[in-house]
Amino acid sequence: MVIQLLGSCMLQAKKITCKRDHRVLFEELSFSLDRGSALQVCGINGAGKSTLLRILAGLYEEFDGEVEWDLEDYPLFSGHRAGVKDLMTARENLLWAANLYGQNVSRDEIDEALSQVSLNGFETVACGAMSEGQRRRVGLARLYLLDNPVWILDEPFTAIDTDGVLRITQRINEHLAGDGVVVFASHLEVSIENMQKLELAR
């Protein structure tokens, strides 16, 4: 994962080939991403969007080809599942997420992140008692709390209302402005500048 690249190129994907039970998902896929740019991965269900994102995140390792990040650690990944514990409250979940990043965050930073995803008042509610949409927003609150130059978001807008989508898009633009990189899979049309589209055929 740790390979220093020259210039502003953050991600270099070379000839990624991936087969899943004898079915070729994608073959010889190569692309690169500069800092401050975004990549929207679209394609019908089962085209391998999630697999590609998991490959870029470093989770899925059963592929040929190379993925080189100009990055110390792993990207920030938000997958299909929200990634929050039902037994823990929103605040505890975010505290744990911060622990994983070695960032000691104060309580009001967490509350601030929660209010950004319009969950103020839900700080001490156990995630199990929340709706799926709220749980996903607790997961997405990580975007406001943790600092990681690269975000990989798999269908970030599912179960999110239109107002939430606008907020997240605006947050993504902020992140890109700060020389961050965002790779996300979604079929929604979102207004994000400096964005390339990658259509997965099949």
Partner: protein, 222 residues
């Protein structure tokens, strides 16, 4: 270092908020042990001779029952992915999870074991030997069990599979533990056995978390 403590605190918190996952194996341990006198008959000579074997096998099975809880919950709700992709090393978090899992399973059984030894008419030296043996043996079981749990993450019928994968690896601990109690009951010294158990423990502390961490990454890769 604080990620280790944070992991232990988090896991213990989760265990106490959902005690069923922890209490069930302990109740299982209790029931299995009390089945044997019913099955074999209450004669003192027979019971005291099989006490060590029964208690150790019961602990073994109870540990196996409770081991996949350690990772399955986090795997199902996606938090294991976040841990694997966090900046903190997965090895330390795995180690913390194993410690917290041991505290709520093996450690408790080791503390309760003198009670059950009494049910089997074991003399006091035997009781102490069982408790010490279990204190040294159960962490090794949890460590080795965590490898099996990590390998079978995400499999539908993972529970039984863990037993098949991991039980053969428990045999050295079982042999040493039961032999230790046997020599204690006859009044011989059992420090040799205890040292061997400790050596196995140190070996699995060294290797098992490494294997578990790699196995988690393998299981997440799907």
């Amino acid at each position: 270092m604080n990620i280790l403590l944070a992991t232990i605190r988090r896991d213990l918190l989760l265990h106490f908020r959902q005690p069923a996952d922890i209490l069930n194996p302990l109740v299982f341990f209790l029931i299995v042990i009390s089945l044997f006198p019913l099955g074999i008959g209450p004669s003192e000579a027979v019971l005291s001779s099989i006490a060590a074997g029964v208690i150790w096998v019961a602990v073994l099975l109870a540990t196996l029952l409770s081991i996949d809880v350690m990772l399955k919950g986090d795997f199902d709700d996606g938090t294991l992915e976040q841990i694997a992709l966090g900046k903190q090393s997965l090895l330390v978090v795995v180690f913390g999870k194993v410690i917290s899992q041991w505290l709520v399973s093996g450690f408790l059984m080791a503390l309760m074991s003198p009670l059950f030894a009494m049910m089997f008419y074991v003399n006091t030296e035997g009781m102490i030997a069982i408790a010490v043996g279990l204190l040294l043996g159960t962490p090794t079981m949890t460590l080795i069990g965590s490898i099996g749990a990590a390998l079978t993450l995400g499999l539908k019928k993972g529970g039984v599979l863990i037993a098949i994968l991991v039980l053969p690896l428990y045999i050295p601990v079982l042999i040493l533990g039961t032999a230790m109690v046997e020599s204690a009951v006859f009044g011989h010294s059992y420090t040799g056995h205890a040292l061997w158990l400790a050596a196995l423990l140190v070996l699995s502390i060294g290797f098992a978390p490494l294997a578990t961490q790699m196995s988690i990454r393998i299981s997440l890769s799907q």
